[in-house]
């Protein structure tokens, strides 16, 4: 038999690096991009240029959060705005009513979001794909309606975060410059990406992806499906909540009409699908395309721009689904993980 050959091949295979490094060009591109992000506020000092990238970073984090539950674990959640809202309201209510620092509010929001993910997830995650999507869409809409009628959190008129100039880093308010917000958003997005980077090469991440592709086969290999779905939902919810907290501190006004709008749930989905769902960089790419698109159409088209950008989103998504269902990032990344013909004997 060819068992000698087999043994030699096995030794060679084991000696390969566990995680093949990205090709040089993509590492160069990544480093250049990271460098640019670090010095961006000094290159582009206009408030609008900084505002644009702050939004991109926050949305990149939100899209990445959705990517965990949908891209990695395969569950299409259409009510993700509820966790954004929990993050925004937890920190703001604590600050407005009890003068608690938003940093503590941030953690409280993450915990509450994870708990909400359990409460929503345990009954709904048993549902098959489409029904889960519809259930979360409706729960997201109910959260908005409840908040709009809940006086303690400001009901329909919302919450205004009082201005505090004494300790900006404690109250997370910066009135002279957007630069601190920029670095907070960059840090939050970077942490979110680090979590998913780690997740994708961990046992948990492998199990989530196995469950996404074939739940029955995953169960036959010892994976507790229900528990893993809830865990993915909790991680995703906590990440979304962080974006909510920072966003609220950034705009200082919580208007439930817009802050809890289903549009946010949908945009996060569009970004991820456009960039590449299940990939590490797809959500960021999607945010980097859609946010400028939406901001600029708003400027060009004035007050009516709000609907124009949604129309362009629709056309883009249609195009991606028809020609590149795995997202734009797949144009770049297809060859990276596969290590070309190198392994072939």
């Amino acid at each position: 038999m060819a068992s000698d050959h087999r043994a030699r091949m096995l030794e060679l295979a084991k000696a390969e690096t566990v995680w093949p490094g990205p090709p040089l060009w993509s590492m160069g591109l990544g480093l250049a991009l990271a460098g640019l992000l670090l010095i961006y506020p000094f290159l582009f000092t206009s408030p609008f240029a900084q505002h644009l990238v702050i939004l991109i970073l926050l949305y990149a984090l939100m899209a990445q959060s959705w990517n965990v539950v949908a891209g990695l674990a395969g569950m299409i959640c259409l009510g993700h705005v509820m966790f954004f809202g929990i993050g925004a309201y937890s920190a703001s209510v604590l600050f407005v009513k009890y003068e608690v620092s938003p940093w503590i509010g941030l953690v409280v929001g993450m915990v509450l979001s994870a708990l909400a993910a359990i409460a929503v997830g345990v009954p709904t995650l048993r549902l098959r794909g489409h029904y889960f999507a519809i259930a979360t869409l409706l729960i997201g809409a109910s959260v908005q309606i409840i908040v709009q009628r809940w006086d303690w959190v400001g009901a329909a008129s919302g919450l205004y975060i009082p201005i505090d100039r004494t300790s900006p880093w404690l109250s997370l308010q910066f009135h002279r410059s957007k630069v601190p917000y920029y670095y907070l958003a960059l840090g939050a997005a970077a942490l979110g990406y680090l979590v998913v980077w780690w997740l994708r090469r961990s046992r948990l991440g492998f199990r989530l992806q196995a469950m996404r592709d074939e739940p029955e086969a995953a169960a036959s290999l010892g994976i507790a499906i229900a528990r893993h779905k809830v865990i993915a939902f909790m991680i995703s919810a906590a990440m979304m909540s962080v974006a909510g907290t920072f966003y609220a501190q950034y705009v200082l006004v919580l208007d439930p009409e817009r802050l809890l709008s289903a549009e946010i749930s949908i945009i996060v989905v569009l970004m991820t699908v456009l960039g590449g769902s299940g990939t590490l960089w797809g959500p960021a790419l999607g945010a980097a395309i859609l946010i400028p698109l939406s901001e600029y159409t708003r400027i060009w088209a004035g007050g009516t721009g709000r609907t124009v950008d949604l129309m362009i989103y629709g056309v883009l998504i249609l195009a991606v689904c028809m020609w590149r269902p795995s997202g734009i990032i797949s144009l770049l990344s297809e060859g990276i993980r596969r290590r070309g013909g190198k392994g072939a004997a």
């Binding site: 087999r6 043994a7 091949m9 096995l10 295979a13 084991k14 566990v18 090469r201 961990s202 046992r203 492998f206 199990r207 992806q209 196995a210 996404r212 592709d213 074939e214 029955e216 086969a217 995953a218 169960a219 036959s220 290999l221 010892g222 994976i223 507790a224 499906i225 299940g278 993980r337 596969r338 290590r339 190198k342 392994g343 072939a344 004997a345």
Partner: protein
Amino acid sequence: MSTTRDMGGTSKSPLLTVEGATKRYGGLAANDGITFDVQEGEILGIIGPNGAGKSTLFDLITGFQPLDSGRVRLAGHDITGLRPDRIAALGVARTFQKLKPFTDLTVTENVMVGALARTANMKAARDQALEALAFVDLLEKRNHFARELSTGQRKRLELARGLAMQPRLILMDEVTGGVDQRTIPGLVDLVLELKANGVTIVTIEHNMEVMMRIADRILALYAGRRIAFGLPAEVRSDAKVVDAYLGGTVDAA
């Protein structure tokens, strides 16, 4: 009652016992009081025409469908009604008739998912996955995505995935079904090598030639019922089995 051939001293208690397994869909009994046992280290073959209830029986044993009545015991412990992942964790692997590769993972990553049932260390899981891939002779494809494999290769992949769990018992649903004739001898050798390594095997097989070669005992099903259980030569010459396979009165049944 159970015909235990001397398999090098395997007259101890069986690894798997199924007692009266019953599953009904409406008025139709997919499994109707099926009883059999599997001795440690043997290959038990399951035969029967399409719709005889073979795959349903696998689902009942591995927890994918609840039994209406009956018991399943693994090494004496009652595992009836446990969740699939709990049963897998007890050392029972299975393959599916309709193959279920993790399409967006590479071949190595697919098999690592199996290995990760036993270890949390990624490097160890990868080494075990590669060993399982070498065993099923799929090492060349290790860095391909699972969706790029042919049917025969997917069967090997699914086998490797189960083996990477280091199971005591593996249930194989039609390993030689739907694959290129030329690859069958290789698959048969694999199964025999597995047995030599001490893994207990239950296999569903349509190819009678293959079955006669590998099985230590055969369970024959027809319309959800057990019609024969014993040594291959006995089962093959059993009148009911001949009937079921050659047509005759069976269509009317």
